[in-house]
């Protein structure tokens, strides 16, 4: 059994014509990733800035004003003075006028002068737990700065100073842009391949192809080749938008990323093939492709939620998600400048997944009209 290059190129050429004749789909293929990237890049922002802070200054002294000044000086807080009753502070949280409140006691200045410890109360709205933790940390940071400015030596057993590597400003977009590349690539690739084969089944053209002496692997290769090119162009567009609009750094080798992106696209296309061997109509193929790629990639790949903090069972499940490996690769190369030898693990798993998916789809590919 030998594969015919002519037959593969005939199918690839025909598929290419389908793609370029269908402007609308082509438009969606290139526009959708950009829109998605912009939505993700701007909206999925985990940074916290300009938190409204209610200040109850009972001391009304120079020192207390200095403390408030310290908060308004940071870009994280927007303090405002609250004149109402202490008991009604809770209403500020309910009406979302403040996320945090600071109560400075009467004896603030006197205690400071006596060099005794003074307690300032912070009330944090923890209806969003993650934000609450961040706000508390920011408050601590500001208080520490304030103490340092006053020249107070804290009786600390050791000094804790952390240096943030690879993304010193902790920008979410640096984290999300590579992730969105992973998500969009798998979605588009799986969607397109599964639709192209199920369309031939639906319109009956598969019947006409199957009566020719063409082999399953020839049909599959011919169909996949144009979409590798298309998905690759898509990846380039997303990357470009990421670099230009979101100023995501690119530390590693573009050549390495290119090669591994092709590997990832192959995985995604194989997944699409497998779907198409099951789906009889384009509608079913589309639903299956979206269901299998979109939600698991968002939830289980580490795109948004860290895998390490998932329950054990879900952690095992993440091994089946191709985006999980590509995320390590693309974040590694872009943000950290990882080299190939540091990415062998994820590459191996991606290649393994591809081989399994491809093998099963070629096996399952029906060479006749039996169900």
């Amino acid at each position: 059994m030998s594969l015919s290059k002519d037959r593969i190129s005939a199918i690839a050429r025909k598929e290419f014509f389908h793609i370029i004749y269908d402007f609308r789909t082509l438009f969606i293929i290139f526009l959708m990733p950009v829109v998605q990237l912009i939505i993700f890049g701007y909206a999925l922002n985990l940074e916290i800035q300009r938190v409204d802070m209610a200040v109850v200054d009972l001391a009304r002294s120079t020192q207390s004003r200095k403390l408030v000044g310290q908060f308004s000086g940071s870009k994280f807080f927007r303090p405002f003075f609250y004149q109402g009753r202490l008991d009604d502070l809770e209403d500020l949280f309910k009406s979302r006028e403040a996320k945090v409140a600071m109560v400075i006691p009467f004896d603030f200045e006197r205690k400071l002068q006596n060099e005794t410890s003074v307690q300032v109360q912070f009330l944090v709205d923890a209806s969003d737990a993650n934000a609450a933790i961040l706000i508390r940390n920011y408050c601590n940071q500001v208080i520490m700065d304030y103490n340092e400015n006053r020249g107070v030596k804290l009786p600390l057993p050791f000094d804790l100073r952390s240096t943030i590597l690879f993304n010193p400003e902790l920008k979410s977009s640096h984290f999300f842009v590579p992730g969105v590349i992973a998500m969009i690539l798998i979605m588009i690739s799986a969607l397109l391949t599964s639709i192209t084969i199920s369309r031939e089944k639906e319109t009956g053209t598969m019947e006409q192809i199957l009566v020719s002496p063409v082999r399953p692997l020839e049909i599959i290769s011919g169909k996949v080749i144009p979409y590798i090119v298309l998905a690759f162009l898509d990846a380039a567009v997303i990357l470009l938008v990421g670099l230009v609009v979101f100023k995501v750094p690119f530390k590693g080798s573009l050549f390495l990323l290119t090669g591994l992106t092709v590997l990832y696209i192959l995985t995604a296309l194989s997944l699409g093939l497998l779907i198409s061997t099951q789906a009889r109509t384009q509608q079913v193929a589309m639903m299956m492709a979206l269901l299998i790629t979109l939600l698991p990639t968002v939830m289980l790949s580490g795109l948004v939620f860290p895998i390490a903090s998932m329950p054990k069972l879900l952690q095992y499940l993440t091994y089946l998600i191709p985006a999980r490996y590509f995320l390590l690769i693309v974040r590694g190369i872009m943000l950290k400048g990882s080299v190939f030898s540091q990415l062998l693990g994820p590459c191996f798993f991606l290649a393994l997944l591809t081989l399994i998916l491809l093998g099963v789809s070629v096996k399952r590919f029906n060479m006749n009209l039996e169900r």
Partner: protein, 305 residues
């Protein structure tokens, strides 16, 4: 050697038989018609010959090769035109033809010559840049046929090629089939139009998954044992109901504004006079009628009941 040899072929879908014990032989170079109404099992049988379906029981040999074994060999020998228009609507006439030429491995020199030939008989040359989806029904059929013929197959299998095509295009299509047959191609064609049976060398009548009769159209029509008359009158429905009740009548059939009635024995003139009276003057004219394929087919399905 028989070109196609089917022995006791059975195919079931979810326990329901689509084709039940069909045995059939198609000779070299003949134009063979598979005649039967929708749902008779024609498509299933043709797909099985083209290796698209495997048998549940029985055996099919194409040029002596088993359809379950020599799949790729048979696919190179057979040209198949499915019932539904199955070409790429967004590709042009020429792109469709070239695609199938490549798929069947037609070499470049042969391909150009073949394209010219196919354009000549199909008269599609002026439309070669037009998208297949924008062709008329008749032109779509001819393009489908051309794609099935691109690799010069020894056997041509056509599944209801004239379905939904206007009468003039149908006639033209059959003329084309005749000219293809002259090039020593064996043709197996299915149709639900009984009048097309007369255009075949031999036909098989198919009904509910079984072959009821095989032979030349003349022989099949000659097998009609009854005496067929065409009746005209004021109210044909009344006439049909009237004759249906007579004991000497085998069957009745509405044919436009006439009724075909077959009698078990030839009625005498006195019988006709009596009937004219009994039908309250509804019966105007009657004439002996040679049986058409449709009469024979209806008769053969009567026997089944």
């Amino acid at each position: 050697m028989k070109v196609i040899e089917i022995t006791d072929y059975c195919k079931r879908y979810d326990g329901v038989a689509a084709v039940e014990g069909v045995t059939l032989k198609v000779e070299y170079g003949e134009l063979f018609g598979l005649i039967g109404p929708d749902g008779a099992g024609k498509t299933t049988l043709l797909r099985a010959i083209c290796t698209l379906l495997t048998p549940d029981e029985g055996k099919i040999l194409v040029m002596g090769k088993d359809v379950t074994q020599s799949i790729m060999d048979i696919r190179s020998l057979v040209g198949y035109m499915p019932q539904r228009f199955s070409l790429y609507q967004d590709l042009s006439v020429e792109q469709n033809l070239r695609f199938f030429a490549d798929l069947f491995g037609v070499t470049e020199g042969k391909r150009e010559r073949r394209l010219l030939q196919l354009f000549e008989f199909s008269r599609l040359a002026p439309f070669k840049k037009r998208k297949a989806g924008e062709l008329s029904g008749g032109m779509k059929q001819k393009l489908s046929l051309s794609c099935a013929l691109i690799h010069t197959p020894e056997i041509l299998v056509l599944d209801e090629p004239t379905y939904g095509v206007d009468p003039i295009s149908r006639q033209e299509f059959w003329e084309i089939l005749r000219s293809i047959q002259k090039e020593k191609t064996t043709i197996l064609v299915s149709t639900a139009y009984m009048d097309e049976a007369d255009l075949c060398d031999r036909v098989a009548l198919m009904h509910q998954g079984k072959i009821t009769m095989v032979g030349t159209p003349e022989k099949i029509k000659a097998s009609f044992h009854y005496h067929l008359y065409r009746l005209e009158g004021k109210d044909v429905r009344f006439l049909r109901d009237f004759f249906q009740k007579l004991p000497s009548v085998r069957s009745t059939q509405l044919f436009g504004d006439t009724v075909h009635v077959s009698f078990c024995k030839k009625p005498a003139l006195s019988d006709w006079k009596n009937w004219q009276r009994d039908s309250r003057g509804n019966l105007k004219r009657w004439a002996s009628q040679p049986p058409s394929m449709e009469d024979v087919f209806m008769e053969s399905t009567e026997k089944e009941r």
